[in-house]
C-alpha cells in the first residue's frame, strides 16, 4: 500500500510530498526513482522535519502503535492504514497518544471513497430502497498470499503475514474491517456480533470468516471474507422493502492494468487507484482546513471492538485437511 500512497501523493494538487522513510533499501530506491529526493532509513529524521505537517503511516499492523505514538508526539497529523491496530487495547493506546498530542488521525478505508459505495449510501438515505432488511458484503481473494512482484521479479510474502501475533488476526480483521466500517456508515450502531471462523490453511489465524452483524436501527448483515481464492471479488448486496441493490467489483484485467500503467506515466490516476487518491485528497483538505476527518481514530476503534466481539462470539470451524 505504501507504493500506492506514494504514487498518489506525487499527484496531489493540494499538498507536496516532502520525504519518504522506510527500513527497506528497495523501497527507498523505488521512492527515489519515483521522484522523491529526500528519502530516509530512520523515520525519526522525517518526524523531526518541521516543514512536514502530516504523515501517512503504511506499515505492518504490529508497528501501528509505535509509529503513531512517535508521529503524534512529533505533532504530525496522521493518516493511518487500516486496521487502526492489532486489537482494542492497542487501539485505545493509539487514541490516547493522538488526543494527548492534539493531532488529527484518519484511518484509511478506501471503500468510503469509492463512488459506487457512496452512491449506495445516498440511495439508502433517500429511502428509494425502502427499509433495508438484509445486507451482505463479500471480500474474497488470496489476500496476503496473492502472488507478488518486486521490480518485475516474483517476491516472497512478508514474514509478518504468517504470524498471528504480528497481524492481530486473520481475514476477519484484514478484510472484514472494510465491510464493517462501511456497514456502520450505512446503518449506524451494531448491537450484536457472531461469527464463524475457518482455517483452510491450517494456520493459527482464520483464513475465512462469516460474520453476522445486527444493527440497532437497521438490517441483519453478513460479512463474508476469505483469503482462499485465486478469483478476487468484492461485492455488496442490499435487500430493501422497495428495491434491492447489488454491486460486484472485480480487479482490473491485465490489459486494463497496462492501460493504467501507461496513463500513470502521463500523470493520470487510473480507475483502480481513484479511491485511494480521493481519500488522501480529503485527508489533506482536513489538515489544511483544520477539520476533523472521517473515518477517524474513534471509528477505527469501534470497528476493532466489533471484530473483537466477532472473535469472542466465534464458532471455530475445523481445518479442511
Amino acid at each position: 500500500m505504501g507504493k500506492v500512497h506514494l504514487h498518489n501523493c506525487l499527484r496531489l494538487k493540494n499538498a507536496q510530498l516532502v520525504s519518504v522513510a522506510d527500513s527497506s533499501t528497495k523501497a527507498l530506491r523505488f521512492a527515489r526513482e519515483a521522484g522523491v529526493k529526500n528519502v530516509q532509513r530512520d523515520y525519526n529524521k522525517l518526524l523531526n522535519d518541521e516543514s512536514i505537517d502530516a504523515v501517512i503511516i503504511s506499515v505492518p499492523n504490529f508497528l501501528h502503535l509505535e509509529c503513531t505514538k512517535d508521529a503524534a508526539e512529533a505533532g504530525k497529523d496522521i493518516f493511518m492504514e487500516k486496521p487502526l491496530a492489532r486489537n482494542v487495547v492497542e487501539g485505545e493506546q493509539i487514541l490516547s497518544h493522538v488526543k494527548r498530542a492534539g493531532v488529527k488521525l484518519m484511518v484509511g478505508y478506501p471503500s468510503r471513497f469509492r463512488e459506487a459505495f457512496t452512491s449506495l449510501r445516498d440511495e439508502i438515505r433517500s429511502g428509494s430502497l425502502g427499509d433495508i432488511q438484509f445486507a451482505s458484503a463479500t471480500n474474497i481473494s488470496s489476500g496476503p498470499f496473492s502472488p507478488r512482484g518486486d521490480m518485475g521479479r516474483p517476491a516472497q510474502v512478508p514474514a509478518w503475514w504468517f504470524k498471528k501475533e504480528l497481524m492481530g488476526g486473520g481475514a476477519l480483521l484484514d478484510l472484514g474491517v472494510h465491510a464493517i466500517n462501511l456497514f456502520r456508515w450505512y446503518f449506524g450502531d451494531v448491537t450484536g456480533v457472531k461469527s464463524y471462523l475457518g482455517y483452510r490453511f491450517n494456520m493459527d489465524f482464520e483464513d475465512h470468516a462469516v460474520c453476522f452483524l445486527k444493527f440497532k436501527d437497521g438490517p441483519i448483515a453478513t460479512v463474508n471474507v476469505g483469503w482462499f481464492s485465486k478469483d478476487p471479488r468484492v461485492s455488496i448486496e442490499l435487500y430493501g422493502t422497495v428495491k434491492h441493490r447489488s454491486l460486484v467489483r472485480s480487479p482490473p484485467g491485465a490489459l486494463s492494468m497496462i492501460t493504467e500503467d501507461i496513463g500513470r506515466k502521463f500523470g493520470k490516476i487510473g480507475r483502480s487507484m481513484e479511491r485511494y487518491y480521493r481519500e488522501l485528497q480529503y485527508f489533506v483538505e482536513c489538515v489544511s482546513s483544520d477539520t476533523s476527518p472521517s473515518p477517524n481514530g474513534e471509528e477505527g476503534l469501534l470497528d476493532l471492538k466489533i471484530i473483537s466481539m466477532g472473535y469472542k462470539n466465534a464458532f471455530n470451524l475445523t481445518p479442511n485437511r
Binding site: S142, R148, P154, V157, N202
Partner: protein, 292 residues
C-alpha cells in the same frame, strides 16, 4: 516406446486413490526396487494455492502413494517428501498451509526443505547455454525417486508436468534467474536428476480452465508423461519446446504406448485459446516482462 498408464480414480479419498495408483503402476509394469531404503517423493508445491486449485499436489494423493510404496517395499524404508524454496514461496509455510505437516505426522514420514539441505553445485550445458544448479545430497542418495507432478497450463512453456517438477529439486531459491531460458533450464536439470517413477496427480487439472478429472497417470519416462499431458491439455507435444528438447537430449521418448483410458476422451475439456485471447495474453506478458 515408453508405457504411460491412465486410470480414473472414483472418489478422491485415500482408499480409491490407493487403488487407482496401484492399477496405474501395474499397467506400466513398474518393477518396485523392493530393497529401497531411502525413498524420496517430490510433489509439486510451487505456491500457497491448495490442491483444490489444481496448482499443487494433493497431500491425500501423496498419502495414498506412501501406502502403496510401503505395501510393496520389503524393508520399511525411510520416506522423505521434498520441496525447495522458490522465488515467492517458502517450504516452512507451504508444508503447513497445504496440509503436508499433518499428513507427515499421520504417515510417520519426513518433510524436507531441499534449500536447507546439504547440496553440491553442478553445471550442465543444453544447446549453447550453460546452467548452474544446486543438487541436494538427499536426491543423489535416494534409492527410489518418485516424481508426483500436476498437469498445468503455463504461459511461456505451455505445459508443466513431470519435467518441470524436477526443476523444483534445485536447492537454489531464486529460481527466477532461469526464467529467461526456462525450457533449456528444465531440460538441463532433468539431465542431472532422473526420477525412477512418475505418478501424476491428475485429480484436478488446470488447463485453459480448471477441471476435476480424477485422473492418475504413471510412467517411468518423464518425457512420455509430458507428451501425454500435452495431449490432454490440447497441445501437440511437438509444439512444446522443453518436451522436444528433452527427447532430443535423450531424457526420454515422446512416443508412448498408452494403457488404460484414452486421454482423447478428456481432451475436449480444455478448449484451445482463441486468437484474440492469445494476442491479449501475449501483449500482457510481454509488457509485464519487458516494460513494467
Amino acid at each position: 516406446m515408453s508405457l504411460v498408464s491412465f486410470v480414473r480414480a472414483g472418489e478422491s479419498n485415500t482408499g480409491s486413490l490407493k487403488t487407482a495408483i496401484l492399477k496405474s503402476l501395474d499397467l506400466v509394469q513398474f518393477n518396485f526396487k523392493i530393497d529401497s531404503k531411502k525413498v524420496v517423493i517430490k510433489p509439486n508445491l510451487c505456491y500457497y494455492h491448495d490442491y483444490s486449485t489444481g496448482e499443487t499436489t494433493d497431500p491425500k494423493f501423496v498419502s495414498a502413494l506412501i501406502d502403496v510404496l510401503r505395501d510393496h517395499l520389503t524393508s520399511d524404508p525411510d520416506i522423505f517428501v521434498v520441496e525447495s524454496d522458490a522465488s515467492a514461496m517458502k517450504c516452512k509455510h507451504v508444508f503447513k498451509m497445504l496440509g503436508y505437516e499433518k499428513m507427515a505426522k499421520e504417515k510417520g514420514i519426513t518433510l524436507v526443505n531441499l534449500s536447507k539441505e546439504e547440496n553440491t553445485n553442478a553445471e550442465v550445458k543444453t544447446g549453447q547455454k550453460y546452467f548452474k544448479f544446486r543438487i541436494p545430497q538427499i536426491i543423489r542418495e535416494s534409492d527410489l525417486l518418485v516424481n508426483v507432478p500436476k498437469i498445468k497450463y503455463q504461459l511461456g512453456v505451455k505445459i508443466t508436468c513431470a519435467l518441470k517438477n524436477i526443476y523444483g529439486c534445485n536447492a537454489y531459491q531464486k529460481k527466477y534467474v532461469y526464467h529467461k531460458d526456462l525450457s533449456e533450464a528444465i531440460v538441463s536439470i532433468n539431465k542431472l536428476i532422473k526420477s525412477n517413477l512418475v505418478v501424476v496427480d491428475g485429480i484436478i487439472v488446470t488447463g485453459t480452465r480448471t477441471r476435476k478429472l480424477g485422473l492418475v497417470m504413471a510412467s517411468e519416462d518423464p518425457v512420455a508423461i509430458d507428451a501425454a499431458a500435452s495431449n490432454i491439455l490440447g497441445f501437440n507435444p511437438k509444439s512444446v519446446k522443453h518436451i522436444t528438447l528433452a527427447a532430443r537430449e535423450g531424457i526420454g521418448n515422446m512416443q508412448f504406448v498408452q494403457r488404460g483410458e484414452r486421454p482423447a476422451s478428456i481432451k475436449n475439456l480444455f478448449p484451445r485459446r482463441t486468437m484474440k485471447n492469445k494476442i491479449r495474453r501475449f501483449l500482457a506478458s510481454a509488457y509485464l516482462r519487458y516494460v513494467r
